[in-house]
Amino acid sequence: MPFTAKPRTFNAAINETVLGTGAKAVTLGGQNVLPLYFFDNTPKNAPAVGIEITDTGYDATGLPALAAFYDGAATPAERAKKAASAEGVSFVCLRFEGADPGGLNKSIADCVAVAKDVLNAIDVPLVVAGCKNIEKDAELFSAVAEVCQGKNVLFLSAREEDYKTVGASVGLAYGQKVGAESAVDINLAKQLNVVMTQLGVSAQSIVMNLGAAAAGYGFEYVASTLDRVKAAALEQNDTMLQMPVMTPVSVETWSVKEAIMAEADMPEWGSQEERGIRMETVTASACLASGAESVILRHPASVKTIAAMIAALL
């Protein structure tokens, strides 16, 4: 019996969510096929790769290529400009590590000024990530969202504990896009989307952050959750799970020992930078394969590789 391929498309599709404005705006989602199955149907929008910078700058010890890339960029705005110019970048993610009350505890005013500078320095969309402190993030997001009005900035993230504040300020008062962050669990993700939409945030303004893990660190939960979310969105037409997914890969992968152990401490493992990049790309690739519409990476070499892989699959 001769073989005929049966393209598998669904009557449901992932929501389209626009980040940024102008020529370099990025649309996430839109596809009606399983993740990366572009042979089943040409995608409306390709998965997007973002590059992450922090307000404080990276400690690039042991990472000569990363140091060289940002060489001469003294301010967050300068780093953002370089980051935005890296090959394969669709958007820039500014992470406010310095805002953490347990760390540098930078003032909201300082952070707002940084956000403004960064926004003015780049022409690609901006994603703002907080410091993971619920109270500080809520205040920070609201203040930054106010000064970025009209720019379609995505904020990572609203969580169960603060979705009301973040949703109301970022999503409603200032008309930005809201990341909905839940622990790796389909039901919690859906519940958060439900309550966010009940609050009044439109489904098209929500991007899901379902959590991440570095490869080898419980990634099976990430993969299975993404698999199930996509199945529910497409096969079951579950509108509360059709929001596109953005996975912040770098924060996870650059904190595991495979990426941070210095070469001097573990000579047989070889170059620390190479390990870090590989941990980041392998994890990012697995996220995209399972169902992320976008990933956030740190190293320009990782961005280039993942963007090239996406291009090769289109």
């Binding site: 073989f3 391929a5 042979f39 490869a215 080898g216 939960y221 993969a223 299975s224 941990m279 892989m309």
Partner: protein, 442 residues
């Protein structure tokens, strides 16, 4: 559709004779339904019943053995639907056209990657030796011997039957890749004669399908599909469509595992090859052939594979015992948690980041997370005290401070009662708070 245990039970003799090694026919039937035992283990099954069952229990995807490794045999597309059974293998690409020094260096580099992670040996299981038709048999044999010297299983790719035959006669090959629409008969003869798994390719899926049908008609079902000389997009499409046809559309012709040659898809691009290896680990590559294998590749890729090929219902476990962190000695504080691998990784990772020496005590909690094992009674004051006694912690460690996971703060009093002389401290609820906690505590 797989048969339910009771359907199988109805066909057993129901005598509980134990000849199959199981105490009852019911226990046997349930194991057959799970695929844990083959139906022919019962010597009393009627021919009728056997015929009925073997057809119904024939898997949609064949299990192919390569040395000690098994490939394929999957029944679901995604792990959460049930579980994935046979993990993919990695392979190092060498080609007879390459210079000897390069081949030696690549092999030496790849062989160095050999370590254990959660009771699993992580190494390159196979070496893929490519011998083009223009090469001589001597050269092919010489290169294959270099590969064979590693003791890893050998995959030979050679499309020229006579050449393949000569090499396979001289070197212990496990898989012979190279069958296609024009040479399959001759290559099939080489493979079957030697008992090798035969790798098949086609210029497109239609041709591949035809060739497999012909090989099956010729009596060979010991096959593997080879996805090599195409584009990344085509290889990915093929891998998905082949698996989908086998499992979703019950097209048993495509019920074979697939080899994906990443060195061919992304020549020389190590980063891209690793990303693709990740993609094909999740989506239906059974042997992934890489241009190089370094620790940088292996650490994330093997970790990912170990994650994906765990049974969703059987969490990964680490061995119970004392795990000294940051060079902890006998005076460093103890912190106890469960043997769920994810808990171990997250907790030990955060402890390492804190820089504070800690004796991490992993107690046997059935491989469940803290709250789950606590709820199931597997992580209790009693189990902690028993662990401390059995592991003779008190004679090995002088510190008498024990940090409990914050989520089981409720155990504090009981643990105090069971471990007199110990100072029981309640730690944070989440691992991420450990760095702070340990630094402050110190």
């Amino acid at each position: 559709m797989a048969l339910k245990g009771l359907d199988i039970f109805k066909l057993t003799p129901k005598t509980n004779c134990k000849d199959c090694g199981n105490p009852t026919c019911m226990a046997f039937a349930m194991k057959v339904a799970q695929g844990a035992v083959s139906i022919d283990k019962c010597p009393h099954m009627s021919a009728d019943a056997l015929a009925k069952l073997s057809e119904a229990t024939e898997p949609p995807m064949k299990t192919i053995s390569i040395g000690e490794h098994k490939l394929g045999g999957e029944t679901v597309m995604l792990r959460h639907e049930k579980t994935l059974v046979n993990k993919n293998l990695f392979s190092l690409y060498v080609c007879a056209d390459m210079a000897d020094a390069d081949i030696d260096a690549k092999i030496a580099e790849a062989v160095k990657v050999d370590y254990e992670r959660i009771s699993e040996r992580m190494y390159v299981e196979t070496i893929f030796v490519n011998v083009e038709e223009t090469q001589t048999a001597d050269r092919g044999i010489a290169v294959a011997k270099k590969a064979a010297a590693t003791g890893r299983d050998l995959i030979l790719r050679c499309t020229k039957p006579e050449l393949a035959k000569e090499i396979a006669a001289a070197v212990p090959v496990k898989v012979l890749v190279g069958a296609n629409a024009s040479n399959y008969e001759a290559l099939n003869a080489v493979a079957t004669e030697k008992g090798l798994v035969l790798g098949v390719s086609g210029k497109d899926l239609g041709e591949l399908h035809d060739t497999i049908e012909k090989l099956e008609a010729a009596g060979n079902k010991n096959l593997i599909i080879y996805l090599g000389g195409t584009s990344i997009k085509e290889a990915f499409a093929a891998a998905v469509q082949i698996r989908r046809a086998a499992l979703k559309d019950e097209d048993r012709t495509f019920g074979y595992p697939a080899i994906v040659n990443l060195e061919r898809l992304a020549p020389g691009d190590d980063n891209l090859q690793a990303s693709l290896a990740s993609l094909f680990t999740l989506r239906y590559g059974s042997i992934l052939v890489m241009g190089r294998m370094t620790y940088a590749d292996a650490l994330p890729l093997y970790g990912l594979r170990q994650n994906i090929f765990t049974d969703p219902q059987k969490p990964m476990k680490v061995e119970p015992g004392i795990y000294p962190i940051n060079g902890a000695g006998e005076n460093a504080v103890c912190a106890v948690t469960v043997d769920f691998a994810l808990t171990y990784f997250v907790v030990s990772g955060e402890m390492e980041r804190s820089g504070v020496p800690v004796n991490l005590l992993i107690s046997d909690a059935g491989g469940y997370s803290v709250l789950t094992s606590w709820a199931a009674g597997k992580f209790s004051a009693g189990s902690i005290a028993k662990f401390i006694e059995e592991q003779q912690i008190e004679s090995k460690i002088k510190s008498r401070t024990l940090i409990l996971p914050g989520k089981v703060a409720v155990l504090k009093g009981e643990v105090e009662a069971k471990l007199p002389g110990w100072n029981i401290v309640v730690g944070p609820n989440e691992a991420i708070q450990l760095v702070r906690f340990l630094k402050d505590y110190k």
